[in-house]
Symmetry: C2
Subunit: 194 residues, 2 copies
């Protein structure tokens, strides 16, 4: 059995390259050749690691979800109470910490692609509903006496605010600096403060 490769590492390498191309050149610039060049290989490797371009796109989308989920888990675990967790999870969503500002651009790219691709739309909905469930759980923990309707409305309002800030900041960073985003989030969270 000669010569083995690390399939998992290859797929992650290529998914990261997909991100970078998507963040820099947008959806129209996302070609297999661009991804291959960014990853330092040729299209041959890409097509051996993924059967098709769609598979590469879907894997990159899954990777985006996994990473945000991991960060949110970490932010939540490091918090003292439910309100802190809510502020931490939403706060790192609007001000991405480790030079991950490109994630917003990538997210917008995937979102636009999902509008015409049912498989991508499915993943988007799953990811967003997972996010909604997390926020809702924390909101309910902050305000145990609230009705389901109140929790749902607050949850979806918070998520819409955060994603709106992200989207608008991705397209016009000057109009939506990080500090303003944090202030907007803090103001929206005041009604939940214990």
């Amino acid at each position: 059995m000669p010569r083995q490769r690390d399939v998992q590492a290859q797929r992650e390498l290529l998914s990261n390259a997909t991100w970078q191309v998507l963040a820099e050149d947008g959806l129209p610039g996302l070609t297999l050749r661009a991804v291959a060049e960014r990853a330092g290989c040729t299209t041959g490797l890409v097509m051996h690691a993924f059967p098709t371009k769609r598979a590469l796109l879907l894997h990159a989308r899954d990777l985006l979800y996994e990473r945000t989920a991991v960060r949110q888990d970490a932010a939540e675990a490091a918090s003292a109470d439910a309100f802190d967790a809510l502020a931490a999870v939403l706060g790192q969503a609007v001000d991405l910490p480790h030079g991950h500002h490109e994630e917003s651009r990538v997210w917008v790219g995937f979102l636009a692609a999902a509008l015409a691709d049912e498989a991508l739309a499915e993943r988007h909905r799953a990811a967003n509903r997972s996010f909604l469930a997390r926020i809702r759980r924390l909101v309910a923990a902050c305000r145990p006496k609230w009705t389901d309707e109140q929790c749902e409305l607050t949850t979806k309002s918070l998520v819409a605010l955060v994603e709106g800030l992200n989207v608008l900041a991705a397209a016009d960073p000057e109009a939506y600096p990080a500090r303003l985003q944090q202030e907007a989030l803090a103001k929206a969270l005041t009604e939940l403060r214990a």
Copy 2:
């Protein structure tokens, strides 16, 4: 001078076709041939009405801005006071009235395209800042004693909420029905109610 055409009407026809294709098939499906077929002509006419595909895209983007601006002017003019105007302008932004639900999808498509096209990004920023200025003027009219910082934060929070609702509803209509969007907006406006 034989045979004249209505250039303006042609450009509007083609821009509308561009919208429809963009809303249905997304950015990757937006080809000159698809636009021509949707408009009921051939690529020959398209290339005579617009010098290039980019010009067509930019014109369609301008048309989007003009239409929303007209609707916002009308909504504002039909309102009794500043608060009503604020509620009307933002309300019709989240629940598009005349079967214009596709506008959200088109908006997302243009946004994603703007991330890699400087000319489109320019138009997006101009349109959004115009929208921000309108909302800010109305917010200031509702709360004359507020500082500039308070007005700005509230304005950008409201706009982010509205655009976030729009974007999320475009990708997952079931999770963000029209009534929930209206309720979320109404709740965000309570602090401005006189």
